[in-house]
């Protein structure tokens, strides 16, 4: 029976990855005649090989790629020999497209790391070796390509291999096979080349056909994340999913995580039939003996050895977005079929991909890899990535743009969560609010510097105080003199600044006060995070809308002038973004409204109870 090997080709730009795949497709007779005639046309137009056909054009499928002669996105190609079926992910070498390379690596079992013999090891060679190791690939082939350009010099080949060797054990590869090749000419691809009498090892295709990549025996018992609850009629309730590990038989005892309830397998339903058993990799529907609370995102696991549950993790994370990942910011997390809100609580360190050393970091930029602590809004079921890729990998999604901004692997759960319990108290927020005869709330003023936030907030507090309200004002500049003295104006620091202020405001609201927060708070994500920390209706976003030109004209502290002269960096509106609210509860336009009119507007809106 034929099996399938999924592998990735990687390495630095111009090392010949696409040519190598083109060559493999060519040699395994996967190139059809109509593709060939298109290839000949393309070669004349875009080819880099003069009169000869350019095999790289077989795989570089996008117009932009053919024009620039580079690979931008990952392409999946299929070919087969009489012995094996192959799925190959052809991935980009440019550093700016590293995330696409990681995408290809996440589903591969083996990596072919291509090195240009005439250039030797590059930064990208190290980076890619580290990323494939990080993603759990255990088998590495190093194809030292373009050997024809160095006259098949044995010493050059030996030196490249020797230089790379220390990394093999350090990164924990189980197998490592260096092969000298020429993808352009086809030497050592399908058969041993007579050009290389000094090389006695296997040819590339032969080695790919032979290698055993079966994972080491994994003793992980049955686990299946529930994808979908199938309830067509009252008397049928099936739990659909793909088995992540182990096997299951009718009659097996299972435990539901979260929940911990125990149940038994009544039947395993397949198309027009029932199965006695099923195993890892199968997509099945399970019917259970008793009615228990199970929904999408639950894990059904062997009852005597179930999955863990936690809301605090240490994980390795790769940043996939142009916008940096920063501590304190929250993201949507897709972990198997479970969705939660995850906050990066701290970035422990960044990994230098060339040397492997740990660097201190406040944020992770695109293509950076770091070790972080994450907390989720509720306990989620999981396995560590090393034990089970499928239940230990996750993606982070930006809550506003919906883009996939990070990919991560769970290393272990942190135990803190289980041990710190919220202290229940008798004198609580509603008791304190009743005593003060008011509804505690947080009025959050956001707007550019000099937009009039503090001035309006100050007048508002005076009016409320005079009316017998218990208030407290948190002003951006004032808080930065004390609590947040250690923070600057980088994006990471601004996020932390807002997080601390949010927590203080929350304590004051809990104390029964009306809290007025006056902060530039330029990012929507942080304002939304702040909102999420309050009960519905407690958080009133007040947008002090003053155009930048008007703020710059007012400039009471001379800050805009300084920023324009380049003496202040990261100044909102000048060289740092301000993201205006999309639907604030209260919208003030200070160009047309006076200070008193603005205050009246706010008080009226609060009296109406619907602050729109």
């Amino acid at each position: 029976m034929k099996d399938t090997l999924r592998f990735i080709t990687c390495g630095s730009v111009d090392d010949g990855k696409s040519t190598l795949i083109g060559r493999l497709l060519w040699e395994s007779k996967q190139v059809f005649e109509d593709h060939l005639s298109a290839l000949q046309k393309d070669s004349m137009r875009y080819g880099t090989q003069g009169e000869a056909v350019d095999l790289a054009l077989l795989v570089d499928g996008l117009q932009a790629e053919r024009e620039q002669s580079i690979t931008i996105d990952v392409a999946y190609r299929f070919f087969a020999t009489p012995r094996r079926r192959f799925v190959v992910a052809d991935t980009p070498g440019h550093e700016q497209y590293t995330r696409n390379m990681a995408t290809g690596a996440s589903t591969s079992e083996l990596a072919v790391l291509v090195v240009n013999a005439s250039k030797g090891l590059q930064t990208q060679t190290h980076r890619h070796a580290r990323i494939v190791a990080l993603l759990g690939i255990r088998h590495l082939i190093m194809a030292v390509n373009k050997m024809d350009l160095v006259d098949w010099n044995e010493a050059i080949f030996a030196q490249i291999v020797q230089e790379f060797q220390p990394l093999v054990s350090k990164l924990g590869f189980e197998s490592f096979q260096p092969i000298p090749v020429s993808a352009l000419v086809g030497d050592n691809i399908t058969a041993h080349s007579s050009a290389v009498p000094w090389y006695a090892g296997p040819a590339l295709l032969g080695f790919l056909e032979e290698i055993d990549v079966t994972p080491r025996a994994n003793d992980l018992r049955f686990r299946m994340a529930v994808q979908f609850v199938n309830r067509p009629t009252h008397d049928f309730r099936g739990y659909c999913g793909r088995i992540a590990s182990g096997e299951v038989k009718v009659g097996d005892r299972l435990r539901v995580v979260p929940g911990g309830m125990e149940t038994k397998v009544r039947s395993i339903v397949a198309w027009q039939t029932e199965l006695p058993a099923a195993a890892v990799g199968d997509s099945i529907t399970l019917c259970l003996e008793n009615e228990v609370d199970i929904s999408r995102g639950s894990i059904l696991a062997c009852a005597s050895d179930p999955s863990e549950l936690s809301d605090q993790f240490e994980a390795r994370v790769l940043c996939l977005s142009e916008h940096p990942l920063v501590a304190g910011r929250s993201y949507l997390m897709n972990l198997h079929t479970c969705q939660a809100v995850a906050t990066i609580t701290s970035i422990k360190h960044q990994v230098d991909v060339k040397t492997g050393t740990h660097l201190a970091a406040r944020s992770l930029n695109m293509n950076d890899i770091g070790v972080v602590n994450l907390s989720t809004d509720r306990p989620v079921p999981f396995e560590t990535y090393d034990r089970c890729r499928r239940l230990g990998s996750f993606i982070l999604v930006d809550r506003l743009t919906n883009n996939t901004v990070g990919a991560g692997m769970i290393d272990f759960a942190l135990r803190r969560a289980a041990n710190i319990h919220w202290q229940a108290v008798d004198i609580n927020k509603s008791v304190r609010a009743r005593q003060k005869l008011q509804k505690p709330m947080c009025l959050w003023f956001t707007g550019l510097s000099a937009s009039g936030k503090s001035t309006i907030a100050n007048h508002l507090e005076k009016r409320m105080f005079a009316a017998g309200r218990h208030t407290y004002m948190l002003d951006g500049d004032n808080v930065r003199h004390g609590l947040n003295r250690d923070l600057g104006f980088s994006e990471a620091d601004r996020v932390e600044n807002i997080r601390r202020v949010t927590e203080v405001a929350r304590l004051l609201v809990d104390a029964g006060l009306v809290v007025i927060v006056s902060f530039i708070s330029p990012y929507r994500a942080e304002r939304e995070l702040a909102r999420s920390r309050f009960e519905p209706g407690e958080f009133i976003e007040v947008f002090v809308d003053t155009p930048l030109e008007e703020c710059e004209r007012r400039d009471p502290k001379g800050l805009y002038a300084k920023a324009r002269r380049g003496e202040l960096v990261n100044f909102t509106g000048i060289d740092s973004d301000y993201e205006p609210p999309e639907s604030p509860e209260i919208h003030l336009e200070t160009v047309t409204q006076s200070i008193e009119q603005c205050v009246d507007h706010i008080l009226f809106a609060l009296e109406q109870g619907n602050a729109k």
């Binding site: 392409a75 299929f78 079926r85 997509s283």
Partner: protein
């Protein structure tokens, strides 16, 4: 079923279930071809004993082979699913046909434009399609969950990284996600699976004597009397079959003696040309599939 087909099947079922779990209003494209037949079969398996919880959508240009339409109606009825059929009637009224416009403009109006009309009218946020990565090289770059901005546009640079089996289907209003459960299947896999699972397919895939004429070096079947014959031209009868099915004036037949699935599998494995070679619309210009995809074509 062999091991690798079983794992392709399990992966596709997982993708279909994931798509339906994440969608608000999903729909499955049904083009009547062999890939649609396999995708529909997988969907029925994924939700058994329930009927798949979404409708089928067919974009009918009115120029499909007659046999295809009869087959479509029969299969939709058997599946118990709702079948939606949409035609761009405005363009028909304007006289648009494969004979009045070149294949590129015809495809834009009768397929891409019609598809967008149907998707907008139905308010579908997630569309399952039967495209495969081995079909064409811009498709080799396609995600399994492919993001479409408002107006159904595909921008290869805006595609989300897709790691492991984790799919991001979150969108804003007006945007949509196209999902390709057969991404990792090859043409040979499709045929082998049809054989193993005994999936019904249109008889046009099997060789039979059919009336054809020669156009630009390819055999085109004269399926009805709307086909404008040249003066004095008489269709000849040849034993032909189709590797791919579309609008009959734009789909070339191949000469073949394959009358069973086993013979088709054998022929596919020995083929020296790709299946889309018979699709005249793919050869309009360099990177034509990429361009059509950007405009919203499947």
């Amino acid at each position: 079923m062999s091991g690798y087909l079983a794992s392709l099947e399990a992966e596709s079922i997982e993708i279909i279930r994931e798509a339906i779990a994440l969608a608000h209003k999903p729909v499955m494209m049904y083009s009547i071809g062999k890939d649609s037949s396999v995708m529909l079969h997988l969907a029925r398996k994924a939700f058994w004993p329930a009927v798949p919880p979404f409708p089928l959508l067919h974009i009918d240009t009115t120029w499909k082979f007659r046999e295809m339409i009869a087959f479509r109606n029969r299969i939709a009825a058997e599946s118990g699913m709702k079948l939606l059929v949409h035609t761009n009637h405005q363009r028909i009224a304007e006289g648009v046909s494969p004979f009045t416009y070149d294949s590129e403009r015809y495809t834009t109006m009768m397929k891409t434009e019609a598809l967008k009309q149907a998707l907008d009218a139905g308010g579908f946020d997630l569309i399952l399609g039967g495209a495969r990565r081995d079909e064409e090289k811009s498709r080799a770059k396609e995600r399994i969950f492919s993001f479409r901005s408002a107006g159904h546009r595909w921008d290869p640079k805006l595609q989300r990284p897709e790691l492991w089996n984790l799919y991001n289907a979150r969108i804003h209003p007006g945007e949509s996600i196209r999902v390709f459960p057969l991404s990792n299947w090859t043409e040979a896999d499709i045929w082998q699976y049809i054989a193993d699972e005994n999936i019904p397919i249109v008889r046009l895939y099997f060789a039979a004597p059919r009336p054809v004429v020669r156009r630009s070096g390819q055999w085109i079947m004269v399926d009805d009397d709307r086909f404008p014959l040249n003066p004095g031209e008489v269709p000849e009868t040849r034993v032909v079959r189709f590797r791919t099915l579309g609008c009959y004036p734009l789909t070339a037949a191949v000469e073949s003696a394959a009358t069973t699935i086993a013979e088709i599998v054998q022929e596919t494995q020995a083929a020296r040309t790709s299946e889309r070679q018979g699709r005249l619309i793919d050869h309009d210009q360099a990177a034509s599939m990429e361009k059509k995809k950007q405009e919203g074509y499947f």
